[in-house]
Every structure is written in C-alpha cells, then in structure tokens.
C-alpha cells in the first residue's frame, strides 16, 4: 500500500516537472543549427560520417535540456559535393531559415564556399573537415579549423620512411583542392628535412582519365614510395589501377579513404600495408575526454564505428555547446571571440587555434592496414603496431 502511494506521488511530481519543462521549452523557440552534408559526389563517404555525428549530438544535447534551456534543432541540406550548391544552401540557411548557428560542410572546397557566406553574415563556423590552410589565406575571422593542417599530416610517414632508409618517393595529387595542394607542400617540406627525394610529382584533375598514364610514369621511375593526395573516389580508382597493373611500391599512402573502417571490405587485400594520415582513431589509446563514451554512443546510434570525420563533427558540436554554455548567448561574435582564445580538449583532441583560426593544438598520426586491421604506427607513443614495409 505504501509502495503504491509513493509511486502515485512520484508520478504526479514527474508530470508537474514535465509540464513545467514543456512549458518552459514552449516559452523560447528552438536554437536552429544548419549545415550541409554531401550525400552524393566526391565527398559523400566522409560526409555521411559527419551527418551521423551531427545527429547524435543533437539528440544528446536535447536530452541534456538543449542549449540555454532551448531545444536545439538541426537543419541539414544535401550539397551533393557541389561548391555552388553549397554556397546557395548556406545562403538559404542563414537568410531564409534564419539559423542561429552553422556547421561546416565536408571538405576544403565546400568549406571555402560555405565560409564565404558565413563570414559575410558574421556567423561562426567550425570547419569540421578541412585540413587545408586555404580557407584561412583570405580573411576568415569567423572560421576556425579543427583538423591538423594538411601540410603536417605526412610528417610521420616520411619519418618512418627515413628511418627505414627509403630515399625516393613519388607524389600524385588532385590539384583541384587546396587540401591536396597543402598536403603536397607539406610532403615536399618534410621530405627535404628527412632527405627523401621526390623523384616524381604530378597533379591531375580527372582521375579516371589521367591516372593510368600517371601510373605508368610512376612505375617507370620506380620510387620506393607512392603518395596519392586526393579524395575517396580518386583513391579507389588508383587502387583499382594498381591492382590491375600489379604494381605496388614498398610504401603506398593515401589520405581519407583508408581511415574508413570498411576500407578493407571495399578494396580487398590491396588494403594491406597502405598508410594513411588520420586525425583520430576510435582506440582506447586516445586519451581525450569523452572519447570512449562518444565511440560507444556513436556505435549504438549508427551501428558503425566512427571515423575521424565523425569525431571532428562531434567535436565541433562540443565546442559550440561549450561556447554557448560559457557565454550564455548564441551571439556569434561572442561565440567567435570565445572560440578564438580557447585551449581545450574535445573528443578529437586538443583544440587551439592561431590568430588566423588555423589549428595549432591538434596533430594527426599515421595509420596502416595490417591483416585486416587498422593500426596506429606513428607516433611511437600512440603505436598499436610496428609499421610494416
């Protein structure tokens, strides 16, 4: 009898509480956060991960009571990996949908397009998937980078190659993206430091058309290593050609695509021993706060292990939340000022930007596929396996 009475009281109290919350929520309109994802096209694969991370965070933040007591709503449009479309969509988001905050699209080109609009409207944008420094070569006061810059992503691989006394490397890249260009610059810089000769270097625009010829040339110079800097579609094409031509240098490195947990499944045995830079990996060695929970929640939410794209997107959301909660406002300028001097840790790692807004706190590491498993091989303190050459 006593137990029943207690249940009745608790239920009534709960109802009152819910009612008050509902009423309080009803009192303020939701905070709108808008962005685009590439559900097709060049940037589809990483963008899907970004989308999932956004949705996960929205659900979690609302479970926590939203931001500033307001529900948070997400508006995402498909930019189809198109720069112009991206620009238009962000214009729509800001001008028509009147979003309070914006999230970046995936990739440097799309981010550049989107940030043109967001900067115009003095809206804070955290670039969730931009390694290139290109966006910050113009004035981008309201744009902040989360990734480690592209020009630093292959330092680890080049050091490993130098240790192994590898002396030559070939570099091919899609020259349409600032990301790739920055990456190549970084490779050149560090190859010089490590006394590795870049015996072949060439950019391309159309992978399907140009890659076969490029590979013939690459094969002819027979460098000890081959680095291809491009997006997933180009990388898949390259791997297909390499497999077909039965050519494989000692060291083969690609950015982005090998970090997908389904990479081996997608490309087969050729995945073995491929190197790739990675901003983040879902392993216990990653010591950042909230990482373990994020991995578990993401897996539960999506059924997949997150890539660094997801971690980066989630980290951007974390920064928004932290900024809003700290400043108690959704005023983008206030938030921007807060972010600009912030030195903190997210699930992605350390976040600290320089005066331009480029990331200076976070570093990437090198992963390698070994026997169907993605292993961290650089830096040594983060190693899960020795590199295999």
């Amino acid at each position: 009898m006593e137990a029943i009475l207690k249940w009745v009281v608790v239920s009534i109290l709960g109802l009152f509480l819910f009612d008050s919350i509902a009423h309080s929520a009803e009192r303020e309109p939701p905070i709108l956060i808008g962005g685009t994802v590439s559900l097709e096209g060049t940037y589809q694969e990483p963008s899907l991960m970004v989308q999932k991370a956004f949705k996960l965070w929205i659900e979690e933040v609302n479970e926590r009571g939203g931001l500033l007591g307001r529900e948070v709503k997400l508006i995402l449009y498909d930019d189809k990996s198109d720069k112009e479309l991206t620009k238009n969509l962000y214009r729509k988001l800001i001008e028509q949908d009147k979003v309070d905050l914006v999230l970046s699209p995936t990739s440097t080109p799309l981010t550049m397009s989107a940030s043109d609009i967001s900067n115009q409207h003095k809206m804070l944008m955290l670039a969730v998937a931009t390694s290139s420094g290109q966006p910050w070569q113009r004035s981008a006061r309201y744009l902040f980078q989360l990734y480690a810059p592209a020009n630093r992503q292959f330092i680890g691989l080049l050091e490993l190659m130098a240790k192994k006394r590898y002396k030559t490397v070939s570099v091919i890249y899609n020259d349409q993206s600032g990301y790739n260009l920055d990456m190549v610059e970084g490779i050149k810089e560090w190859a010089k430091i490590f006394k590795i000769d870049i015996v072949y270097q060439k950019g391309y625009q159309n992978a399907k058309k140009e890659l076969p010829g490029l590979l013939t040339e690459v094969k002819s110079v027979n460098a000890q290593g081959l680095i291809n800097s491009s997006y997933p579609l180009d990388s898949y094409e390259l791997l297909r050609l390499l497999d077909k031509g039965r050519y494989r240098p000692d060291v083969l490195a690609l950015p982005i695509v090998p970090v997908s947990p389904d990479f081996q499944k997608n490309v087969g045995s050729i995945a073995n021993h491929i190197f790739s830079p990675s901003q983040w990996e879902p392993v216990e060695r990653i010591p950042f706060p909230g990482t373990k929970k994020f991995i578990e929640d993401f897996k539960k939410f999506t059924g997949h292990m997150p890539t660094y794209h997801a971690a980066s997107a989630y980290a951007a959301c974390q920064l928004y939340e932290q900024a809003i909660n700290s400043t108690q406002t959704i005023d983008n300028t206030s938030l921007r000022d807060y972010i600009a001097v912030l030195d903190t840790a997210t699930v992605l790692g350390r976040f600290k930007v320089d005066h331009a807004g480029m990331q200076v706190g976070h570093n990437s590491f090198i992963i390698q596929w070994q026997n169907g498993k993605k292993e961290i091989v650089w830096p040594q303190k983060m190693q899960t396996a020795q590199p295999v050459f």
């Binding site: 050091e159 430091i193 490590f194 200076v360 570093n363 830096p379 040594q380 303190k381």
Partner: protein, 569 residues
C-alpha cells in the same frame, strides 16, 4: 715371483670407479658441449636484447623530443631544437647507467660524436659507416677493440644512436657461463665421485673389509665373530657370517667334545681293553687278528703272539663251532650289527673255558665290515655257580614238594611267583610252574580270593606277619576246608618288601574234633550245671577246674571267679 696383488676392496674400487669416472667424464663433456651452446646463445641473446633496448630507449627519447616540438609547432625553431637535443643527449647518456658494460654514443650525420657515455670519447667517429644501418646489430672495431653494437637512426636530427659493448665485456658472461658450466659439471661430477667413494667406503669397502678379515681369521682358525653389524645386504652377510662362525664354533665344540668323548671312550676302551675283566679280540672279517687284550690271552692261556697264530675256529670248541659260524654268517649277510652266544673255547692246556661271546662289527661307509670285535667273558665260574644253584634249587624244590605244608609266594601285586606242588594242587593246577603270574582270583579258592587279598595287602603294606590264623578255603573238588595259615613279608637284600611268603596246612579234621570236644564239654557242663547239688572239680594242685551253678548259688562266686583259683573250703 709372486705377483703383488692389491687388496680386494681396492681392486673393486678401481674396477668400479674407473668406468664411473670415464662415463661421468664423457657425460660431463657432452653436457657441457650441448648445454654451453644454448647457454651461450641465451646469454648473447640477453646481451643483444639489452643493446637493442638501450638503443631503442635512446631513440624513444629523440622521438619524444620530436613530438614535443611538433606539438608546439616549433620543430623548425633552432633554439628549441638545440634545447631538445641537449636534453635528449643527457638522457641518452644516462641510459648507460642502467645497463652495465653498455655504452651509448650519438653520432650526427654518421660522423660527429654528439655525446658519449664513455670517458675520453673521440670527437669524430672512427667506426664504420652506418648510413644504411637502422635497428640492427653490428660488429666492428673501435680503435683496436672489437665491439658489438645496436644502431638506431633518428632521421629528424640525422642522429645515429649507437649502443655498444666491447667484445671482452660481451664475452665475459659467456666465458663465465662456460666456466660455471664446466665447474658445475666437474664439481657435480667430483661430488658424485666423492660421494660414491665415501658411500662405497662406508657401505661396501669397510664392511667388506671386516668380512674379509673375519674370513681370514676363520681360515687361520680364529672363530671370531664380527662385532659391528652393518645394515642392508652386508649386514645380512655379516649376520650369516656370524651365524656360520657360531655354527663352526658349535661344531668345533662338538668336535672337541666328540674328540674328548672319543678320547675318553678310547681311554675307557683302552682301560677296558687292557685292564678289564673281559677278553677282547679284534679281528678282520677273514679272521685275521688285529688286537687281543691281556685278559683274553690269560683266559685262553696263550701269549698274544701265540694267539695271533691261532684261527678263531681253532679256539672254539667243535660242539659250539657250528652255532658260532651260523651267528657270524648272519651278521655278515643279514646286516646285523651284533650277536651274543655262549660258547666253549679251548684253553691252551686243553680244558674248556665257558665263555659268553658278544660279537659286534665296525663297518665301512659302504657297510662292508672292517673289524669284528669279540668280547669274551669267562663264565666258567658262573657256570659252576649256576650249576650249584640249580642243584640247590632242585633240593629245595624236593623239600618243598615233599613237606605236607602248602607253601606259596607272591609279589607285591599279589601275583603268584611260585609255590610247592601241594599248593599247586590245592589251587587246582598240576604244577607250580602254572602258578606264576596268576592271582587268587584265577584259582580254585577264588571265592576266598578277596579275603586272601586283604590279608596279603595287610602283610605286604605293613610288613607285619600273620601267624596261625584259621581260614576257610575252597578246594578244587568243591569242598571247603579249614586251613591254618601264616603269612610273612618277603624282603630283598635291602630289606625292601618284595612280596610275601605264605604257608598253611589243613586243619579241617582237627577243627572238627575240637568242635566235637567242645560240644561234649558243653553237654557235660550243662549236666553239671543242671545238677542240684554243688559240684566242684579240682586238679592235683587243688586248682578249681569245674564250678557249677549250684556252687555259685551256694558260694556266691561265679565260675569265672572260681575256676583257676585254689580251692579252699
């Protein structure tokens, strides 16, 4: 020349130990050979692991410095690099303190020595080119000294981090291991041999020695037991030896006793032979004389020499010769050991000597007769005495059978030993010989046997004779007659009662007459007593012989009072 032989236990030791030593040495050598290599490999591997670890530690220090610079985005900052390099060099140098005998050296561009844990290290590398070396173990010389090194390459600073050990230090543990292995193997081997020696000495050599000494003692005639018994099989052997000594001692004692007995026996025999009153002749089976004693010679009146010229059958009276031969042949053929017979031998002077011969033989192991020993007892006097006794007995028997008195004699169990002819006939037998062994219950007077037995026992048990008592006795014809019997105890030379002697004669008629007389007296007495007048009878002396009732009535004296007294009026 007698070859000097080592004592048994030393030879055993040599024969046992030498193979053990050889085998032990071979096994030790094999062990060392096959263990040393793996041990050496193990030690080298351990050392190589230390070399590798120390160089990896050096590399780690450099990597951490590099990552630190990357984190700070200061990898291109010269001052920062120098600071990190210096810190790295200090830390690398300190690594050697954790690894004894291992030195670390950092080379810049393969030539310039940036730092070294060795004192007085040269500024420039004098070792081999290391441009293509990374994470490998190499062997080379530094100056005149060979070293074993592990090289790590840190490309960012173009450093070679070399951890190395001088060959002599590298080999020292291996050599020590060899030394330890050899020493251990030899040590164990010697300990085993020493233990074997000690154990052999304690548990085999010493007891064996004792046993040998004791056995030698036995050989020399000293039946000395082993006083301290070991355990185990030797103890058992020693116990058996002591048992054997006891047995030998006992046998020796028995032999001594036997010898003593033999000596005694021989002495007795000799005494008897020489000085006894029995003539002894020792002959062979074919009657060749061996010995004859003085008594025999005197008995037959010959000297020994004369006797030896006589054959036995010439000495035996012809009428006894057949019996003698028969008995002798029986002993030969029927495996008798001895026989006795009475034979008459012929004296030298021609008279007969009655003898009792006891002939025995001494046989060989195959049962053939070696000697015949004849004991000759002169029974001539005895024969004479026997004859005299027989004569005396015959006379006595004649007397006994002639006298009318019945005589009988019994033993202590009341069995008849004899009696005279008259008694035998009273008993229902035909001759006294039939009495022997019988009791009263077996004879004609069996109805009185119980009573007779009582009287017999009274005499035998008390030794008191019973004289002239009357008893009835059944006769063979069924009549019962009265006898006047006397029985006396019969004693031997030592006055012990050996039976009883009884005599009796028939008093039936006398008794009848007495009864008749008594009857008459009673009749007369009655008449006298019945007389109304006083009647007194006196004899010549005046003694009253008769006194009747009237006399009593008259005088007041009874018959008893009067009869026998003088009559006075």
């Amino acid at each position: 020349m007698i070859k000097k032989q080592f004592p048994f236990y030393k030879r055993i030791l040599f024969k046992l130990l030498l193979p053990v030593i050889l085998v032990g040495f071979i096994i030790s050598t094999l062990l060392v050979t096959y263990m040393s290599a793996p041990l050496e490999t193990f030690l080298k591997r351990q050392f190589d692991a230390s070399l590798s670890l120390s160089s990896i530690m050096g590399l780690r220090i450099c990597e951490e410095s590099f990552n630190y610079l990357l984190d700070l985005r200061l990898e291109k900052n010269f001052e920062m690099n120098e600071v990190m390099k210096k810190e790295a060099m200090d830390n690398i140098r300190d690594i050697s303190e954790q690894f004894p005998d291992i030195h670390l050296i950092v080379l810049q561009a393969g030539e310039l020595v940036k730092t070294s844990s060795m004192d007085n290290s040269p500024a420039t590398w004098t070792g081999p080119l290391l441009t293509d070396k990374d994470d490998t173990t190499v062997v080379f010389d530094i100056g005149t000294e060979a070293v074993r090194a592990h090289v790590q390459f840190f490309p960012f600073w173009d450093w070679h981090i070399i951890s190395f050990v001088f060959e002599k230090d590298y080999k020292a543990p291996v050599q020590m291991a060899y030394a330890i292995t050899y020493s251990s193997a030899l040590g164990v081997f010697f300990v085993v041999v020493a233990t074997l020696l000690i154990v052999f000495y304690m548990f085999i050599n010493r007891p064996l020695n004792r046993l040998i000494r004791a056995t030698d003692g036995v050989t020399d005639g000293n039946l000395i037991k082993i006083d301290t018994i070991s355990s185990g099989e030797f103890g058992h052997l020693m116990s058996s030896f002591n048992g054997m000594v006891d047995s030998l001692d006992s046998e020796k004692g028995a032999v001594r006793k036997l010898i003593h007995q033999l000596q005694e026996s021989e002495a007795m025999f000799r005494s008897q032979f020489e000085y006894g009153n029995i003539g002894i002749a020792i002959t062979t089976i074919d009657e060749q004389w061996v010995r004859a004693n003085e008594r025999l010679c005197r008995m037959l009146g010959y000297s020994e020499e004369e006797l030896f010229t006589k054959a036995w059958n010439r000495l035996v009276d012809p009428q006894d010769l057949a019996a003698w031969m028969a008995s002798f042949n029986c002993m030969l053929t029927d495996d008798f050991e001895n026989y006795e017979l009475d034979a008459q031998l012929l004296h030298k002077q021609g008279n007969v000597v009655f003898t009792q011969l006891s002939v025995s033989c001494i046989r060989n192991l195959d049962r053939s007769i070696k000697f015949v020993i004849t004991s000759v007892v002169d029974i001539t006097e005895r024969m004479k005495a026997e004859q005299t006794r027989r004569d005396t007995n015959r006379i006595l028997r004649l007397v006994l059978d002639t006298i009318p008195v019945r005589v009988f004699w019994k033993d202590r169990e009341c069995q008849y030993l004899g009696g005279n002819q008259a008694f035998s006939e009273d008993a229902g037998l035909s001759s006294p010989a039939e009495l022997i062994g019988k009791t009263d219950f077996d004879l004609a007077f069996a109805p009185q046997a119980e009573l007779f037995r009582q009287y017999d026992r009274a005499v035998i048990d008390t030794g008191e004779s019973r004289f002239f008592y009357e008893e009835q006795q059944n006769m063979p014809d069924g009549t019962i007659r009265w006898m006047l019997t006397s029985k006396v105890a019969m004693r031997d030379g030592l006055h012990n009662i050996v039976g009883l002697l009884g005599t009796y004669h028939d008093i039936t008629d006398q008794r009848k007459a007495r009864e008749e007389l008594q009857k008459l007296r009673n009749y007369l007495s009655n008449i006298i007593d019945s007389m109304p007048s006083l009647l007194v009878g006196v004899d010549r002396e005046g003694i009253v012989t008769q006194w009747n009732l009237e006399a009593k009535r008259t005088t007041g004296f009874s018959s008893k009072e009067a009869v026998g007294n003088r009559y006075s009026l």
